[in-house]
């Protein structure tokens, strides 16, 4: 079970939105794609999810049950919470009683109340809608989760809670995770490997590995690692941050870089 992307490109009209993307996501790994707005992150995720067709290159998706969580909850407004969560199960042809049982269990596990299950999306708060969108993906027991900044509109407390639920879920199922985000701390929190993207055309300009296992990261480590990550030249350049990074050594062409207090190491892959 691996996702392999090779030489992927996507043009819209005359504009190259993505060019020459290579990416591999083996089973159980969590990868974050970070980059400034408009660098083609969402286009890449749409291609991987099969919602769009590449102009060049190949995608071999070896995962059997991928599931998507979009930037907005995108719930069906005319269906109750329960039916929304059970959407994918219904599409797979599961009997009503069984899919409602699973959907209810998943909804409750993600912090929805019993009464919420009968409500329609417009009666739920934004945070609750995000939980429903996550539940809709989790209930499929996916082996690959594709997340397109689903937490970007939520407050910090809610984010922390949903991160914990997400990490617990993928750890329990040994599922793979591909997260898109422009929130570097979110990337450091959720992933084993971070890919830095740059725009015009969208391409991967840096690759960083976080050595400490996901389960053993405390807040201090996350803050320090994020700070170190932001010092990386490719990251500073990619987000248009002024000046050179102070702490970390400049890295080019495959040298190994410590991200934070020697607990994490990254390597940048030089690209012309």
């Amino acid at each position: 079970m691996t996702l392999r992307v090779a030489g992927l490109g996507r043009r819209f009209g005359l504009a190259d939105v993505l060019a020459d993307i290579d990416l591999e996501l083996p089973a159980g790994e969590s990868v974050a794609l970070v980059g400034p707005s408009g660098c083609g992150k969402t286009t890449l995720l749409n291609l991987i999810a099969g919602l769009d067709r590449p102009s060049a290159g190949r995608i071999d998706n070896g995962y059997a049950r991928p599931a998507c969580v979009f930037q907005q909850p995108r719930l069906l407004p005319w269906q109750t919470t329960l039916d929304n969560i059970a959407l994918g199960l219904k599409a797979a042809g599961m009997a009503r009683r069984e899919r409602e049982r699973r959907a209810a269990a998943m909804g409750l596990r993600l912090g929805l109340a019993d009464a919420d299950l009968d409500k329609f999306p417009h009666q739920l708060s934004g945070g609750m809608q995000s939980r429903v969108a996550l539940a809709r993906a989790f209930v499929l027991e996916p082996d690959l989760l594709l997340l397109d900044e689903p937490f970007s509109a939520l407050d910090v407390g809610l984010k922390a809670e949903l991160y914990a639920l997400l990490l617990g879920e993928i750890a329990a199922r040994k599922a793979s995770l591909l997260t898109i985000t422009h929130d570097l701390m979110e990337a450091v929190r959720l992933s084993d490997r971070i890919l830095m993207m740059a725009p015009a055309p969208g391409r991967i300009v840096g690759e960083y590995r976080l050595e400490r296992p996901r389960g053993q990261r405390d807040e201090g480590w996350i803050y320090r690692t994020t700070a170190a990550f932001m010092d990386e030249p490719a990251v500073r350049a990619g987000f248009g941050l002024p000046g050179q990074g102070g702490g970390a050594a400049a890295a080019d062409g495959g040298s190994v870089v410590a991200l934070a207090s020697a607990s994490a190491a990254g390597r940048t892959k030089g690209r012309a």
Binding site: N46, A49, G50, L51, A67, C68, F70, Q72, R74, L76, P77, W78, Q79, T80, L82, L87, G88, K90, A91, A92, D118, K119, F120, H122, Q123, R136, L140
Partner: protein, 262 residues
């Protein structure tokens, strides 16, 4: 089904809200009675006189057959416009070119006075069932057409992506994603068209047919029988109100429960 349960739970509140409607109707009757006291029964018969006359018409067996004929014509024209307008509107909405091209035509159709259609229909079909049916059809068609067109044009690309990402089969995509959305646009248009059909049919009958409520109105006008005219009007409006609040409004509340549920 949850929608249905929510709907039944809502019935007491719905009936209770009926008191407000009743109160405003009685206000209207009071104003009407006041007017009749000022101007006299010849100009404006009192509500009491009107309903007594209506009762007499019903007792004499004159009311129901005429109302049935009128209802039949209105419903045939309405059903035709509903079928043709929905299908053509949806098809036009699926294509950008077709929806742009149909817009000015719809504007012309909406702007055309129904009485003009009636005159044309009289020339084309003569005095008979076809004339009111056609007039109703052509007056209701643009309303339904626009509703269907907007429903199809506003289909949400984001929800289409959800349908694809969660691997919904085509049948489920239609029934769970497209249909509810389109119905939420179509249904209000259908209701508006039904009200329109009921008004247009009476007007068409007044000029074009020897039977029906419109014809009865023409006769009572010729006899300067204001009370009978008012009685027929009350019958038509009463029927419309009954259909609207006893049939359509509850259906609407169920169909759009996801939008209005508290």
């Amino acid at each position: 089904m949850k929608l249905l349960r929510a709907w039944f739970a809502g019935i007491p509140a719905y009936l209770w809200s009926g008191w407000g409607a009743l109160a405003s109707l009685f206000m209207f009757l009071a104003l009407w009675d006041w007017g009749s006291q000022i101007y006299g029964d010849l100009v404006l018969p009192s509500p009491l006189a009107t309903f007594a006359q209506l009762g007499a018409l019903v007792d004499a067996g004159a009311a129901w057959p005429e109302l049935a004929v009128t209802a039949k014509r209105a419903l045939i024209g309405f059903a035709l416009s509903l079928a043709v307008g929905s299908v053509l509107g949806l098809l036009a909405g699926l294509s950008m070119t077709a929806s742009m091209m149909s817009r000015p035509i719809v504007t012309v159709l909406v702007g055309m006075p129904p009485i003009a259609w009636l005159v044309l229909a009289l020339l084309w079909f003569g005095a008979g069932d076809a004339t009111p049916v056609f007039t109703v059809f052509i007056a209701c068609f643009p309303i339904v057409f626009v509703g269907a067109l907007q429903g199809a044009r506003t289909l949400d690309g984001q929800l289409k992506d959800v349908a694809r990402a969660y691997r919904l089969p085509l049948r489920m995509t239609l029934s769970d994603v497209y249909l509810p959305h389109v119905v939420s646009y179509l249904f209000p248009a259908w209701i508006a068209a039904l009200g329109m059909s009921w008004k247009i049919v009476v007007m068409a009958e007044l000029l074009a047919t020897p039977d029906g409520v419109g014809a009865a109105l023409a006769v009572s006008r010729a006899h300067l029988d204001t009370a009978a005219s008012m009685a027929w009007i009350a019958a038509v409006v009463g029927l419309l109100l009954a259909v609207e609040y006893l049939v359509l409004e509850p259906i609407k509340r169920e169909v759009e429960g996801w939008r209005t549920a508290q």
